[in-house]
């Protein structure tokens, strides 16, 4: 998927709450429809750098949902967890405000068949703001008739950001979605890996591919579990990115054989065997 050359100024179409996160919608008149797993580099057109000279660099944000925009182009939904000056400013963008976007960038999730011979079904495992790329992936799988299950982990009732991205237009959670919550207010009490384990040891595990995105500790648990049970897994990782298009070499992720990948161009989606261990050092 080739991105239009350069950043372009787009307009924010909407900004709504999503369980503690924000969903910011941007109308991109000039870009193609992105694939699930791809990301954009985003920066507010005004007041970027408003907290003592930060945010300075653009921020990498996965696309959570996309559809054709009225009047041409595509509408892009981004799920934002405001953790610092960059995501705070992006999460505060109002309708009609300008935003610089570059993308779509990076690779995307592959279909189960592409990843693993004979694999038919998919298990999507997400947590925190990492549910974003899985939301788009789930819709694609639905459209293409790829059998899939979705396992999402949330902390508690106050932290369910992005959950509504997995609801149908009726506002009801899609039937293939199962939840784990740490406080047990919904779904199973515990971690999302508690939901994954029985699937990996089940009969149809061999024909499934796991797709995961979330905090480093969760990703590492998923990676290790899948490795242990011989199940193919695709992980959407994060690492600190200055550019997103291969220019800075900042987004290095260690390769198992030594050396580094550039996550922005070689990822952000990596197969489980392409990383040694998912670590806080880069994620």
């Amino acid at each position: 998927m080739i991105a239009p050359f350069g950043r372009r100024l787009c307009e924010v179409a909407a900004n709504r709450d999503s369980g503690g996160y924000r969903v910011v919608s941007v109308v991109d008149r000039g870009g193609p429809e992105p694939r699930a797993g791809q990301f954009y580099m985003l920066a507010a057109a005004e007041r970027w750098g408003a907290r003592d000279g930060r945010a300075f660099l653009p921020r990498a944000i996965s696309v959570a949902e996309t559809r054709p925009a009225a009047g041409g182009g595509v509408r892009l939904d981004f799920l934002l967890d405001a953790v610092g000056p960059g995501t705070e400013r992006l999460a505060a963008l109002g309708e009609g405000e300008g935003i610089w976007i570059t993308g779509p960038l990076g690779n995307s999730f592959a279909s189960p068949r592409e990843v693993s011979d004979g694999a038919a079904g998919a298990v999507l495992v997400g947590g925190g703001v990492g549910v974003a790329p899985l939301a788009l992936l789930r819709r694609r799988f639905s459209e293409r008739g790829v059998p899939h299950r979705v396992l999402l982990g949330f902390r508690d009732r106050a932290h369910t950001g992005g959950l509504d991205l997995f609801c149908g237009s009726s506002g009801v959670l899609c039937p293939e979605v199962r939840l784990a919550t740490e406080d047990g207010h919904a779904g199973v009490q515990g971690r999302v890996t508690d939901l994954l384990l029985p699937i990996l040891v089940g009969d149809d595990a061999a024909s499934g591919v796991v797709y995961s995105c979330g905090p480093p500790a969760m990703l590492e648990a998923v990676r290790a579990l899948c490795a242990e049970h011989g199940v193919t897994v695709e992980l959407a990782l994060e690492s600190p990115m200055a550019c997103g298009f291969g220019a800075c070499f900042g987004c290095a992720v260690p390769k198992p054989g030594g050396g580094f990948l550039r996550l922005c161009v070689d990822g952000p989606v990596l197969r489980g065997d392409e990383v040694e261990e998912v670590s806080h050092a880069y994620a």
């Binding site: 050359f5 300075f56 570059t102 550019c243 298009f245 291969g246 800075c248 070499f249 880069y282």
Partner: protein, 298 residues
């Protein structure tokens, strides 16, 4: 038409070494990159005699109006570069400048010799911020080391030799004068300022390598001052860089005598920054020309 050491340039804006990978960018953006190439010349990432993997993460850290990097010069090494990268870089629509660094004069010589033989290379930039393994001195910190290096390399190449200075010295003008005496054709500056940060989340150094190099608008005043002082000391054309993000920033470098400006960190914020800055420069020149006769002296 601007030029640098006899190399014609469509405009006076090039990239800073290590801040644009034209091969990766072409994969990301397609051939639109070539149709609309943002720089008047392309400077490669610094290559070293042997391949390097680069430093352990974390490699970048944002700071007020800038960033620290400890990338660590990952590259395929001289032979890998010549075999794999150069054939792709020759397809760029602009002159190619290859940046090299080595830790002995002999290795520097081997790099310069091999690269100078390639017709697709317009000039060579010598990144002299590494310690000399024999003398232990950082070449670029020392005027006579720099002079001696240039004297050794000068006979090996007819191509222009651009010396990229480190800003972490008391008097960059002295080092530039050493480079001029040794036969350099041009001086480029500044490289990054040594910088560190602590990650508030851990209380430990934020970068895997402990420290790194500061770049971006935060360092622009330092870059301008070093350009001014080098300009006063040498006659060579200067490639000025350090925090250029707009045409107005570039104008500051030209006002102090730079022949060409290079854009580094700003590329990360805007992949077409080079072309934008060239345009901003041109339109501000045009605006000046138009407003001049009607100048209101009130």
């Amino acid at each position: 038409m601007p030029e640098l050491c006899g190399i014609d340039l469509a405009h006076p804006v090039i990239n800073a070494s290590g801040t644009y990978d034209a091969i990766a960018a072409r994969k990301v953006f397609g051939d639109a990159l070539l149709d609309d190439f943002p720089f008047a010349a392309f400077v490669s990432k610094t290559i070293t005699p042997d391949p390097r993997a680069g430093n352990s993460p974390r490699r970048i850290w944002e700071t007020p109006s800038g960033m620290i990097n400890s990338i660590g010069l990952p590259n395929k090494g001289l032979e890998g570069f010549l075999a794999e990268d150069l054939p792709q870089l020759r397809e760029l629509p602009v002159p190619l400048i290859v940046s090299v660094m080595a830790t002995t004069r002999e290795e520097f010589a081997r790099c310069v010799e091999r690269i100078a033989r390639r017709r697709e290379v317009a000039a060579i930039e010598l990144n002299v911020s590494c310690p000399n393994v024999h003398s232990g001195l950082i070449v670029g910190e020392n005027p006579s080391e720099t002079e001696a290096l240039l004297e050794a390399l000068r006979p090996l190449s007819e191509k222009p030799l651009i010396v990229k200075l480190t800003p972490n010295v008391a008097d960059p003008a002295e080092v530039a004068a050493g480079a001029e005496r040794g036969g350099a054709d041009s001086i480029s500056l500044i490289n990054t300022l040594k910088g560190t940060a602590i990650d508030p989340a851990t209380g430990a150094p934020a970068l895997g390598n402990g420290y790194g190099g500061l770049s971006g608008p935060a360092v622009r005043p330092v870059a301008l001052e070093q350009v001014r002082s080098v300009r006063a000391a040498v006659d060579l054309p200067i490639v000025g860089m350090g925090g250029v993000s707009t045409g107005a920033d570039a104008s500051e470098f030209f006002a102090l005598g730079a022949a060409v400006v290079a854009v580094g960190t700003e590329n990360f914020r805007d992949p077409r920054a080079g072309a934008r800055i060239a345009l901003e420069l041109e339109s501000s020149l045009r605006a000046e020309r138009i407003s001049e006769p009607a100048l209101d002296l009130d």
